[in-house]
């Protein structure tokens, strides 16, 4: 859909988190993206490559964890996984189901390199 815009937001947040941790290099970024969103993994990767050039994220690994949809049946209580299209309860056939996973768009964590020089504390300290 608008993966370039999404990735701009990701890199802004990652830059901030890396700076806060005093990191000089980002090694990996982990995202969770629900299958029920309109986000396309390939487009995210393309946007990442284009936007990360020349930043502390350049060349780092982008891990996109696609989250399969899961719903909860309000009638029989069953929790079940399903695809994008079939949300009715496989046990009792009820239509009254509630999506509990599959719409995520989240930055989970980053893997960073922090210089372990005792004389140079992370620059977020003392501010």
């Amino acid at each position: 859909m608008h993966e370039l815009g999404l990735m701009t937001g990701v890199l802004d947040a990652v830059d901030q988190a890396a700076a806060d941790a005093g990191a000089t290099k980002v090694l990996a970024i982990s995202l969770s993206v629900g299958v029920m969103t309109e986000v396309i993994e390939e487009a995210l990767e393309f946007a990442f490559e284009a936007l990360s050039e020349g930043t502390i994220c350049e060349g780092c690994e982008l891990k996109v964890n696609m989250i399969e949809p899961r719903s909860h049946c309000l009638d029989c209580g069953l929790e079940f996984e399903h695809d994008r299209f079939h949300m009715l309860c496989p046990h009792c056939g009820s239509f009254a189901t509630e999506l509990i996973a599959g719409r995520e768009m989240q930055i989970d964590s980053i893997e960073v390199d922090i210089p372990d020089d005792e004389d140079a504390p992370p620059h977020s300290e003392g501010r």
Partner: protein
């Protein structure tokens, strides 16, 4: 070293949406986010809805379009406050644009804001604007297979309007197949078959909306 971030990708949009939602709640204004394709009859449906509800509620419209003020002119011609938001190429409305648009409206005087999103069945689905409800309009000429091609928009909508039902004899629209697909994707959403131009079915749709607006008062 691993650093936890745990932040939504759309954090900025979500924060502003929450602020919009709090403002609308404080002012007791019901905001309806309307999603549909270009040419599905969003503006005609809005005009028909205004006609049905203007005696009971004070209504304003926010028109999202890539360019032009054609739509807001049509609304203003009916004596209804309308704000045009030109996204300048962007395919969807974002919370920031809504925040600026409502700035020029007198929320104390309003009961209902109809928000016409940019004509697009994909991108607007993932952007929370702080609305009370999303509804989507599909028009008969677009075809009965659209729920299969664009499931997301049918799933995030609290109601589905099927517009231009008066053209059904001309198009090979399989109504049963359409109802079945929508029911499978979003069993809780009612479907309102209407013709915005002839007025057919508009009353039932308007009543569904009116009961939600009344619940705020």
């Amino acid at each position: 070293m691993q650093v936890e971030v745990n932040s939504p990708i759309l954090a900025k949009n979500d924060e502003l949406a929450a602020a919009n939602r709090a403002l609308f709640a404080e002012k007791r204004v019901f905001v309806l986010n309307i999603l549909a394709s270009p040419g599905s009859g969003k503006t005609s449906t809005i005009l028909a809805t205004i006609e049905a509800l203007r005696d009971e509620f004070n209504i304003a419209v926010i028109e999202g379009d890539i360019a032009s003020s054609v739509d807001s002119e049509k609304i203003k011609a009916q004596g209804i406050a309308a704000v045009q938001v030109n996204t300048g190429g962007a395919c969807h409305l974002e919370s920031r644009m809504i925040q600026r648009a409502v700035d020029v409206l007198d929320l104390d005087e309003l009961d209902l804001i109809l928000l016409e999103n940019v004509g697009n069945l994909v991108c607007p689905t993932d952007f929370d604007l702080g609305e009370n409800a999303k509804v989507m309009i599909l028009s008969v000429p677009e075809g009965d297979d659209k729920p299969l091609k664009y499931p997301g928009v049918f799933q995030v909508s609290q109601a589905v309007i099927l517009n231009k039902v008066d053209t059904m004899p001309v198009f090979d629209f399989k109504k049963d197949a359409f109802y079945e697909s929508v029911e499978r994707l979003n069993p809780q959403a009612p479907i309102f078959p209407i013709s915005a131009t002839t007025g057919e079915g508009v009353e039932a749709w308007a009543e569904w909306l009116a009961s939600r607006v009344r619940s705020l008062h």
